[in-house]
């Protein structure tokens, strides 16, 4: 028994080492080689199989018969079985289709690029490139294909399925004569793997609900149940939720911001579009002291004076590509890179396209036009921009107004005749009122949206919450290790601050709700803010509930600590998604709500692992001090040991869930749930390393608190490497994350 245990856990250790080796091999010899000779090599599969058999044996023989634990481990067996099926029967490949030339072969994506054949013929009927409005930047590729007796469309966000084969739009032939599709065939693996994920989730839920688990015993041990119960509740909630460039003066720019624009399929204040534009390009809502409105008007009226402004915020890869020292490139630098056909990231391309849309006039739809139709009144109004193709038959003055009023503004801007510009803006405004008065958002609504958009509260709020959370947590752990609870004054002051924060968030969220007309949970940004709202709310109402239930146990006030932390991190994630507002329909892959959840869950897990590391570090330092002072506080040692262990469960579970949500998302987006991308591999390594820490009963040396703390501190290096190191050293498709 002991032997089996030793062998099984050693095997896992070897697998971890193999995975690390694999990612290094990949760096030097490419993904294909790493997959062939390391990740899916027969010896690796054998190791996994042996470790699995060992694990099953241990589980069967163990005296612990908790079926949540058994189910949890069984779900991993299912996931591994699914992977094996995918490995054995799944095929990944690519096919290049030429217009009206049927084929039944494709190239398998292995090291040798084997020819494979479909059990049907595939034919490209039509191929279109769809551009951003008014630009020549491709937004999407759309192939109409005929497979056997079924025809359909493949595009960036539309997968075509036939007889177990899935087709993804990948690119197009150099000469635009055909389309390149990704082929994915995985008849059994996906279903089995997904079953595994579902089982895993189920077993985690049961695990937290079951009594008598190691987790529960730990909780009892340090009597922090009240707080941790809140924490668990919150965690469950998380998993369920979804030279100065030339421009016009601020005053006139602001007046433009007060106009209405038809943008993102609805009428909004221009200032919102202007803020989105500036934030999307520069990452901030001000550029060199100029407001977003001024930046937008500057680009609109005198773009040439902006071409050399370093304001296009780049991702690391683009920065490397352009050999820049700064994170910011100029339009001209990006333009030149594009001329040289450098492989700029989609992010940089999107920024270029956004400027293209602005310059083409497509973005500034500020001219309502009442069509003569028989349709209902709401359909009478069409919103045009200066660059729109205007319908024939428009009255002369109306046509000229749309065609020329912004040119006149341009002239006045050049002449610096702002008094007259005010008059033109007033006319633009009046024109909107006259034609579309009944459609325009009400004054209150309009102001609400403007004020709302202008307050960029996400960042300071997130920073504040995270800082408070971390400080409270450290204090809490220190007190806990001395078996003390939080002083009342600290609790009350942090409670009051949370109350204020919650009030502010409530106002912001209700404004958002009022403006958009739907629950603020439609995208990652909103969802995370709502999550923070709930986290704070729970901590705020908790004392009332506790009083109601007549709970007289000594309170540790842990709920306030964890709520600050969770709320803070939720706000942090919401802040990250806010700096990339959705203006253009680019990268459908990155727009899925699954992505927001994936990021948020992993972030939370990393946050918890960070606290565990801190907790362990503090414990180690304390032990060192005791060691030298000759004193020892046995209870404190045990408490900090327990705290780390308690936090490990949600941390590891969240990491597992996060990875698997990522896998599901990748499967939808790229046709494969696991691609041995370095970040994926390293997330798996991290998961396995921390899973080791949970198995304190099986891994004897971890039962020594000092060894355990040391393990937790060192294990965090894996998190750090996964989060930061991979991007810088190994690259891969997560390089944007």
């Amino acid at each position: 028994m002991k032997l089996i245990r030793a062998i099984s856990f050693s095997l896992m250790g070897i697998i971890i080492l193999l995975l690390i080796a694999g990612s290094i091999v990949e760096q030097f010899y490419g993904t294909a080689i790493a997959i062939k000779y390391v990740y899916t090599a027969p010896y690796t599969i054998a190791l996994w199989a042996l470790a699995t058999i060992g694990g099953i044996t241990l589980l069967v023989k163990t005296e612990l018969k908790q079926w949540a634990t058994i189910l949890l481990h069984f779900s991993f067996v299912v996931i591994l079985a699914g992977s094996l099926l995918t490995h054995l029967f799944g095929i990944q490949g690519a096919v290049e289709l030429k217009l009206n030339k049927p084929t039944n072969t494709f190239t398998e994506k292995t090291n040798d690029y084997d020819e494979r054949s479909f059990p049907f013929t595939l034919e490209l009927k039509d191929f279109q490139v769809i551009y951003y409005d008014g630009t020549t930047t491709a937004r999407d590729y759309r192939s109409t294909i005929q497979a056997g007796d079924k025809s359909g469309i493949v595009s960036m966000n539309n997968i075509f399925r036939y007889k177990g084969y899935r087709f993804y739009q990948s690119g197009f032939s150099e000469d635009m004569s055909g389309s390149v599709l990704l082929v994915s065939y995985d008849p059994y693996g996906i279903a089995v793997t997904y079953c595994g994920y579902a089982l895993l989730l189920l077993s985690m839920v049961i695990f937290f609900m079951q009594s008598h688990t190691h987790f529960r015993q730990l909780l009892k041990k340090i009597k922090v149940r009240n707080g941790v119960a809140t924490l668990v509740l919150l965690l469950l909630l998380v998993t369920n939720l979804n030279a100065t460039p030339s421009t016009i003066p601020q005053q006139q720019a602001e007046q433009f911001g007060n106009l209405c624009v038809f943008y993102n399929d609805r009428l909004q204040p221009m200032s919102c579009l202007m803020t989105d534009f500036t934030e999307k390009i520069y990452g901030k809502t001000k550029y060199q002291g100029l407001t977003a409105e001024q930046v937008y008007m500057g680009w609109l009226l005198s773009p040439y004076s902006w071409l050399d402004e370093p304001m296009f915020k780049l991702k690391t890869n683009d920065k490397k590509l352009l050999r820049l020292n700064s994170r910011y490139a100029t339009y001209n630098q990006l333009f030149e890179a594009k001329q040289k056909k450098m492989p700029l990231s989609k992010y940089a391309e999107e920024k270029m396209a956004l400027v293209g849309m602005l310059l083409s006039g497509e973005l500034t739809k500020i001219y309502p036009y009442r069509q003569a139709t028989n349709e209902p009144a709401s359909n009478h109004i069409v919103w045009y921009s200066q660059g729109s193709n205007l319908p024939l038959g428009m009255a002369d003055d109306e046509w000229f107004f749309i065609k020329k009023s912004m040119d006149y503004v341009g002239q006045l801007a050049f002449e610096k005749d702002y008094a007259r510009m005010d008059t033109v803006i007033a006319k633009l405004n009046k024109n909107q009122q006259n034609i579309a008065g009944d459609m325009l958002p009400s004054g209150k609504h309009f102001r609400a949206e403007q004020i709302f958009r202008r307050i960029s509260y996400s960042k300071p709020l997130a920073m504040m919450a995270v800082t408070i959370g971390i400080i409270l947590f450290i204090v809490y752990i220190l007190l806990l290790s001395k078996s003390k609870t939080m002083p009342k004054w600290l609790y009350l002051s942090s409670y009051t601050l949370m109350l204020l924060t919650e009030l502010f968030l409530t106002i912001m969220l209700s404004m958002r709700w009022y403006i958009s007309g739907h629950i603020p949970m439609s995208n990652g940004h909103e969802t995370m803010q709502t999550l923070a709202f709930i986290a704070f709310l729970l901590a705020l109402v908790y004392p009332l509930l506790a009083r109601l239930s007549n709970n007289h146990t000594k309170r540790s006030y842990s709920e306030i600590v964890f709520s600050w932390l969770i709320g803070g991190f939720a706000l942090l994630v919401s802040m990250m998604s806010a700096s990339n507002p959705q203006i253009t329909p680019l990268m459908p892959v990155l727009q899925s709500p699954l992505l927001s959840i994936h990021v948020a869950v992993i972030m939370l897990s990393y946050a918890l692992l960070f606290f565990i590391m801190l907790n362990s570090l503090v414990a180690l330092i304390q032990q060192a001090i005791w060691h030298f002072s000759g004193k020892e506080n046995k209870h404190a040692t045990e408490a900090s040991y327990a705290v780390s262990q308690i936090l490990l469960y949600p941390a590891v579970f969240l990491l597992a869930i996060g990875i698997f949500i990522g896998a599901v998302w990748a499967n939808i987006s790229w046709g494969s749930y696991w691609q041995w991308d370095p970040k994926e591999t390293w997330a798996l390594i991290t998961l396995l390393v921390y899973a080791g820490a949970i198995h304190t009963r099986s891994i004897k040396f971890l039962q020594n608190p000092t060894a355990f703390h040391l393990y937790c501190v060192l294990a965090f290096l894996f998190v750090l490497f996964t989060y930061f190191g991979v991007n810088f050293i190994l690259g891969g498709m997560h390089s944007y994350a």
Partner: protein, 547 residues
């Protein structure tokens, strides 16, 4: 500057339409404020303050002032939409042969064509026309068996005179005598096109007048060049320059040639201060040459666009009820058994037997020939539509200059003049009374066209032909100085800034350095340009981008 006129005009407009919210021009510019008049590249009537990607597509104030905005819109419509082979409905009448199916293919965003690596008539941005001529007697006469703008598209039973898929455009590197390098180490690259078309790509024999005699040529005796479109905006303003101003400019430059400042002079056209040859249309009036690289045309109403709408698409109109076609092609096609087989059925869909009995006789070969060379075809574009197209053509505004107050731009302008660039790229002209001339069909006149009387405009051309003596130069080597106005916006508008007649220059520096061959008229200027430091060279580029 005619500020006073403008004030009066605007005031009257303001009185006229003070009730109308939509009239935006009822405001007068502040007479107190003074700006460099050069900002108004197209004068006060022809300038638009717009730097967006449709900066070349905007109407002038003259369109509004003349109440022609509906005609402008219709004209724009004709320009922007593709034509089709239907015999009725909108945009019908394409073919039987065509150079392109619509105007925008060659004029991306109304601007200069983009450099191509193959010849595809369906590719957006391919502004190339093929130029084929004999290389035997030094006259470089166009082939007579092909139309001047050779067609590569054919419809119905017909076959294209040239199979465009076999046209090969190779881009070769050119190293100038300085090794493509400035003394401070900065380098540049020069490339030029070498076009070849194999024998089997031609459907027609290769015939040209050699020493006055029609002669059949071999492939090796045919020279092939590419000529790209340039921007359309501002042509109305160039048309408004008085003939005698242009004549005076030629006279001045003839003196400069006599004094040794120019190496080449087109004396066959202009000697002793007098024109030896004019452009004449159907009205037999002598007009000063002003449009196309070859300066083959006079007034705009019978120049580039007025002709292109007919000969690019082969859409007939009241004054041209015939095809853009050669007898040589008609002969080959009429003898082609494939064409003969399909023609009798097809022609029934095209013509009415009663109107054109000559295409319905018992002799198919004769019918085909009669159809292709017919002078009595149904009208496909009406007079009114043609006038509307011309309103639009004349009505396109020039984008205002930018950044002229920038110190570097100012320095660039100073150098541009100092180096002598401004000798040929003459900065400004003043338009005359702008009376409309329509040499061919007297459809356009002062009443129905937007006009630009007495405007100071800044096109940066002398309206004279010069020689740059480039490798694989334009046919004959003579080329009208291209207007530089608005070109600096090209990058923003069309996404490319290719310059020169065949788009060989990919940026301003390349374009400048192509002016520098030993026998070029601009040689001295380029030598001085090379002597400048990088800072100053960049200033000139920045200035050219600003105008």
């Amino acid at each position: 500057m005619n500020k006073r006129n403008l004030i009066i005009l605007c005031l009257s407009l303001a009185l006229f339409s003070c009730k109308n919210e939509k009239n935006i021009n009822n405001l007068t510019p502040d007479p107190e404020k003074e700006y460099s008049e050069e900002y108004y590249s197209g004068g006060e009537l022809g300038t638009v303050f717009n730097s967006t990607s449709f900066a070349y597509e905007q109407p002038t104030s003259a369109v509004e002032n003349s109440g022609k905005s509906f005609d402008f819109q219709m004209g724009e419509y004709f320009f922007e939409k593709n034509w089709n082979t239907n015999t009725e409905g909108a945009f019908h009448g394409l073919g039987p042969l065509a150079v392109r199916e619509g105007c925008l293919y060659c004029h991306p965003a109304y601007g200069h064509g983009k450099r191509q690596t193959s010849y595809d008539a369906h590719k957006q941005g391919n502004g190339y026309l093929l130029v084929l001529y004999e290389t035997v007697d030094g006259q470089e006469t166009y082939l007579s068996s092909l139309t001047g703008m050779p067609q590569t598209l054919a419809y119905g039973p017909f076959k294209a005179p040239i199979d465009e898929s076999k046209i090969n455009i190779a881009w070769l590197n050119y190293t100038d005598e300085w090794g493509n390098r400035f003394d401070d180490g900065e380098t540049y690259e020069l490339i030029y096109p070498e076009v070849t078309i194999p024998q089997d790509a031609y459907y027609v024999p290769l015939i040209a007048n050699v020493n006055g005699e029609p002669t059949e040529l071999t492939v090796n005796q045919v020279g092939i060049r590419l000529e790209s479109t340039i921007g359309i905006y501002g042509t109305g303003l160039l048309d408004a320059i008085p003939d005698d101003s242009i004549t005076a400019q030629w006279a001045r430059e003839e003196q400069a040639y006599n004094a040794g400042y120019l190496k080449h002079w087109r004396s066959a056209w202009f000697t002793g201060g007098n024109w030896q040859t004019y452009y004449t249309g159907l009205d037999k009036q002598p007009y000063v040459r002003r449009f196309t690289y070859a300066m083959s045309r006079g007034p705009l109403q019978d120049a580039a666009g007025a002709n292109a709408i007919w000969n690019i698409t082969n859409v007939t109109r009241p004054d041209r009820r015939y095809h853009y076609m050669t007898a040589a092609y008609a002969e080959v096609a009429s003898k082609d058994p494939d064409v003969q087989k399909e023609f009798p059925e097809w022609i029934k869909t095209q013509l009415n037997k009663d109107d054109n009995p000559e295409c319905f006789t018992d002799n198919v070969e004769q019918n085909i020939y009669n159809y292709l060379m017919n002078k009595n075809l149904p009208v496909e574009m009406t007079e009114q539509q043609f006038v509307q197209l011309m309103v639009w053509h004349r009505g396109l505004a020039v984008p205002a200059a930018r950044n002229l107050d920038d110190e570097k731009v100012k320095r660039g302008k100073e150098l541009f003049t100092q180096l002598g660039c401004a000798q040929c790229h003459r900065p400004s002209w003043t338009t005359g009374s702008d009376d409309i001339h329509d040499p061919n069909n007297s459809l356009c006149d002062n009443t129905n066209m937007p006009r630009y009387p007495y405007q100071k405009i800044w096109p940066y051309t002398d309206m004279v032909q010069h020689k740059m003596m480039m490798k694989n130069d334009i046919r004959t080597g003579w080329c009208r100085t291209t207007p530089l106005w608005g070109r600096g916006l090209s990058k923003l508008v069309t996404g490319a800034e290719d310059r020169l007649h065949d788009c060989r220059a990919r940026n301003v520096i390349e374009a400048i350095m192509w002016h520098g061959s030993p026998e070029s008229d601009a040689r001295e200027s380029i030598e001085q340009f090379r002597a400048l430091g990088k800072e100053d060279r960049d200033a000139i580029v920045k200035f050219i981008d600003a105008i």
